[in-house]
């Protein structure tokens, strides 16, 4: 299937970019959502976006993007991976995150439930404080901020979906481009038919639906519906969010992609 098709560059906008410069320098703040399920981890995509925010290129997924030195600052706050994970995996993108002054990492993972949120059954205050600390690290409004796996808090603590959404608002107000990366497995994280507000999947579904209503760009990764294929990992769908961008346009598209164990990525039109 894929061998007949020519390889494609991954683009999100009609100006052939993944992050338009207009967005990074705009007055308005935007939210983009990256969702994924079991079997299609978005690590390669996040790292490419970090690369393009920092220096314009996205070598793993797009050979056309030009280098823009010191493009923007990047802040990554992860609830599922430590700093080391990003440093190690972004080497593939030609980045040395451990010594890049434009890159900042907030570790919301390593000691999340042992120090940061030590009482998960009564967590609102700790969670608010944690997000306040993240907001303080958004020093430059033209930063690209990535929050990975915040839905972990909905699962493991008593906070409500509104608590989490309002905290993300605090961050989004201070930066031009916020990316939220979340799992969307059915039925554990997304189940439109859930009815019990105490159930964690109710909280995560409510969270994800409301989050999508604020989004300008939706990117979702799924395995192939036809099952496992040797040379295809899954599909990536890029679609407009509920809130349009002011000056740029999303290039809606479905690709199928393949990731190798050396983290090489090939993309094809679907």
């Amino acid at each position: 299937m894929s061998s007949n098709q020519p390889q494609q560059d991954l683009i999100f906008f009609t100006d052939n970019s993944l992050i338009p410069s207009d967005v990074l320098s705009s007055q308005a703040s935007y939210l983009s959502i990256i969702t994924h399920v079991q079997g299609t981890s978005p690590t390669w995509l996040i790292n490419s976006l970090i690369e393009t925010a920092l220096m314009g290129t996205a070598s793993v997924v797009n050979s056309d993007l030009k280098r823009i030195p010191k493009r923007s600052n990047v802040l990554v706050a992860s609830f599922s991976h430590p700093h080391e994970f990003y440093v190690r995996n972004c080497k593939k993108n030609g980045l040395d995150l451990s010594s890049n002054p434009q890159f900042e990492f907030v570790d919301c993972f390593s000691t999340l439930f042992t120090e940061l949120v030590s009482k998960p059954s009564d967590a609102k205050r700790d969670v608010d404080a944690l997000f306040d600390k993240i907001v303080k690290r958004v020093t430059n409004p033209n930063m690209a901020v990535f929050i990975e796996a915040p839905e972990t808090l909905l699962y493991a603590t008593n906070i409500s979906s509104s608590d989490l959404l309002f905290n993300l608002t605090k961050i989004n107000k201070n930066c031009r481009q916020l990316y939220v990366i979340s799992s969307k497995d059915y039925p554990q994280y997304v189940d439109f038919d859930t009815t019990n507000p105490q159930d964690v999947s109710f909280k995560t579904t409510d969270f994800l639906v409301k989050l999508h209503h604020r989004s300008s760009l939706n990117i979702t990764l799924e395995p192939l519906s036809t099952g496992r294929a040797k040379d295809i990992t899954g599909s990536i769908t890029i679609s407009r969010g509920s809130i349009p961008y002011e000056t740029v346009k999303v290039n809606e598209r479905e690709y199928i992609y393949h990731v190798t164990k050396d983290s090489n990525v090939k993309l094809y039109f679907r």
């Binding site: 308005a28 703040s29 939210l31 969702t35 509104s162 959404l165 309002f166 608002t169 989004n172 107000k173 969307k184 059915y186 997304v190 189940d191 439109f192 038919d193 859930t194 009815t195 019990n196 507000p197 109710f202 579904t205 409510d206 994800l208 639906v209 409301k210 999508h212 209503h213 604020r214 939706n218 979702t220 799924e222 769908t237 890029i238 679609s239 407009r240 969010g241 509920s242 809130i243 349009p244 809606e252 598209r253 479905e254």
Partner: protein, 287 residues
């Protein structure tokens, strides 16, 4: 008749029709953003108070903007009442009513009521609905009951069926070509007389054009018939009477499929009195 409906729509969109509570029902397939822009476009010289539960960027058209995430519904109501314009019309936009618990929603709407205000509240229909302990109606039911005008927004689906579309959206796999400036609108307007008018439109917010939506009836079977008529000299078509009779024929294996075949085509052996089962024979068929 159709002209009247477009006139009604235009009047509603420009806040000229007396209707105090606009409820906008949207979904992940089609956002309310463009409709609100259209209303704003049609209502210059209006004092617009924007109550935000989820909007990050203050809209340019907003005269007042309040971040409701950091305050109580009571304070929100107070804010609105203190900012009502005495000279111009006031439009109060609530970007999402989904954040207010169902027990508080009616009280909240009531507190915002004011003869000088048109209240426009958006409700996202894809959010999960909590099961109530009491028989008190849920938020969607309440809102659709008290609203004086309801704007139900739907995407213009062409490639996918509604089922397919919902299937994808419910897995948060938002297909392309949604959230468009062109969309379908089902308008319900409750008149003071008690009557409800319901119309369906296609709205193009890019050109500000509104059209009545014409439902395409099931034309296919008739077309097939026409094709068959002139093919040969034999009568291949079915008359209406024949078609009715055909639909009433009971297919022989339908019932069987229902009871026995529910195991998916499994062959079910039913051991009967006269069957002779030899327990010692190792090659006897299993049941």
């Amino acid at each position: 008749m159709s002209q009247n409906s477009v006139v009604l729509l235009t009047r509603l969109l420009s806040l000229k029709e007396s209707s105090s509570f606009y409820l906008v029902l949207d979904s992940l397939a089609q956002s309310s953003y463009y409709l609100i822009q259209e209303i704003v476009h049609n209502s210059p010289n209006t004092n617009i108070i924007y109550l935000s539960y989820e909007t990050i960027n203050r809209p340019k058209y907003a005269t007042e903007f309040l971040d409701c995430t950091e305050t109580t519904p009571d304070n929100v109501a107070k804010f609105v009442q203190s900012n009502v314009s005495k000279t111009n019309k006031t439009l109060v936009i609530i970007d999402s009513l989904n954040y207010i618990p169902s027990e508080e929603i009616t009280a909240f709407i009531t507190k915002l009521a004011n003869p000088l205000i048109t209240l426009l509240g958006v409700f996202h229909t894809n959010c999960p609905i909590p099961q109530q302990n009491t028989s008190y109606p849920n938020t969607a039911t309440l809102l659709t009951y008290i609203a004086t005008t309801i704007f139900e927004i739907e995407p213009i689906v062409s490639v996918l069926t509604e089922e397919e579309l919902y299937g994808k959206v419910s897995r948060l796999n938002i297909p392309v070509n949604l959230n468009s400036p062109q969309f379908k609108l089902v308008l319900t307007n409750r008149r003071k007389s008690g009557r409800s008018l319901i119309y369906t439109f296609i709205i193009d917010t890019a050109t500000h054009a509104y059209e009545i939506f014409k439902q395409h009836e099931e034309e296919e079977p008739i077309e097939d018939e026409r094709l068959l008529k002139d093919l040969t000299t034999f009568n291949l078509t079915t008359s209406n009477k024949q078609r009715l009779a055909r639909e009433q024929v009971e297919l022989p294996y339908m019932e069987a499929q229902e009871s026995l075949g529910s195991a998916g085509g499994a062959i079910v052996y039913e051991f009967e009195k006269d069957d002779d089962y030899d327990e010692e024979d190792p090659y006897e068929d299993p049941f």
